[in-house]
Symmetry: C2
Subunit: 245 residues, 2 copies
DNA sequence: GAAGCTCGCCTGTGGCTCCAACTTTGCCCG
DNA sequence: CGGGCAAAGTTGGAGCCACAGGCGAGCTTC
């Protein structure tokens, strides 16, 4: 079975086993390419490949000059998704709950709803909507991205604007507006970050992102929908599911 | 800028651009290693590396003999997490909603709660609990894993048992029992699958998993908690967040 | 004893080659 | 004219080598 398997897998599996069972604790040095070639009697290519795979899996990190080490377990900040966000976005509330200084900036502009967004807002394709792009930071470091689409009739302004940290949550803005948000729905999946996202979020290779599609509903109609990109190595999402009595 | 960048990145970026902007639609063939070496004037190593990176990102898939193609967009099955699961687990309900035949098997036994589980159940470490392991299948193929921990006073039996597809959801079992579940909480994060998980779920390399920690509460006390492992390439989790009027 | 520098180790990148296994295609022969 | 087979093309695995540049241990020098 494991006989005809590729050679590099033998190395990967052995090292992985040692990492997950704690023989190699977080921070411990991983044998170098040369050491692997000797220890496992494999070529340099296989050694390199094995290290790449483990790095790709997020189990080890390599630094030029000082070798590979077992990745330290990141502490995942909770993001409480079930709390209705007021006065600010969930992100700002999470950061405050976690004792970090939240800051963010945004840019709004008029745009045409691409097919998927149009569907989520129950509009026809390429209808005009207001698009707002956010970059959220915690203690100055970029931590989440979001792109929000609002129906034009609810947006305050149709001309491009931008700002920092003073935009309020959709829920409270709508409330001030006379529109009561009655439900929020979120759909969560995992994906590989796009290059611009890796860039903006300063993601190490191998880290995937949680993609949250969030829609605000008022009276059975969607009024706003957003795509939120959350680094998988920094956050966990916490939901409460009420059970009606 | 892009001048001193590694050569293979030029290839990756060009192909990626063509894929994301639709020049190369899903299913379209990607140039072979030899074609890449010629077209971009790079060595074969760089060409191969570029293809590996794109495959790793999930944008293309390679098949021995017939080349690489742009990956078809996988359809992610929705998993409706907010619905209170009766009479069966969320998984079974999702499969039915998606028109697939659900099946599962489980094994229960007495175990000692490891620190993290003990904390989630508000017990002291290594307290006796009932541990139940599930493998969930859709149309016969393994799709989700779960490990559940129940307080002994609520479990029906303390001796090891196993079964197939007849175990009811915690909510309905507790109800039959006189204990009303009042809330369910879930915490979602992403992680790399452990080898046994990759094995059981038959995951391709590079696919990460959604790890859901789910806890059932009755009268402000946790009565059951489970770890659910969900392949990131097969499911998206859907939550509804009620906004109280 | 402390400060600074040198040299060796390690990673990341990249080039070249060979081989096994598999797919596709097109040609040849019946 | 059609079916089957062989050749060409492709991926994935594997080996070897080279080189730039970061990092750090340890030696040298002040």
């Amino acid at each position: 079975m494991a006989n005809s398997d590729p050679v590099y897998l033998r190395v990967v599996e052995d090292l992985r086993r040692q990492i997950v069972d704690g023989t190699l604790p977080p921070g411990a040095p991983i044998p170098s390419r040369h050491q692997i070639t000797r220890k496992y009697s494999v070529g340099e290519t296989a050694a390199r490949h094995a290290l790449r795979v483990l790095a790709q899996e997020g189990l080890i990190v390599g630094r030029v000059g000082s070798g590979h080490r077992v990745r330290e377990k990141p502490t995942l900040l909770p993001s409480y998704r079930s709390r209705v966000p007021e006065p600010h976005t969930p992100f700002a509330m999470d950061m405050q709950a976690n004792g970090r200084q939240p800051s963010w900036n945004w840019r709004s502009e008029l745009a045409e709803a691409p097919p998927e967004i149009a569907q989520r807002l129950q509009l026809s394709q390429w209808s005009p909507v207001i698009r707002i792009r956010f970059v959220f930071r915690g203690d100055g470091k970029p931590m989440q991205l979001a792109t929000s689409y609002e129906l034009i009739e609810f947006g305050q302004s149709q001309s491009p604007e931008e700002g920092t940290a003073e935009r309020r949550s959709t829920v409270s803005r709508m409330a001030a507006n006379g529109t009561k948000i009655t439900e929020i729905s979120e759909s969560v999946h995992v994906r590989v970050p796009q290059p611009t996202e890796s860039d903006l979020l300063e993601l190490p290779t191998g880290v995937q992102v949680l993609h949250v599609e969030r829609t605000h509903w008022a009276a059975e109609r969607p009024v706003e929908t957003s795509d939120i990109v959350i680094p998988g190595d920094k956050f966990r999402l916490v939901y409460g599911i009420p059970v009606s009595l």
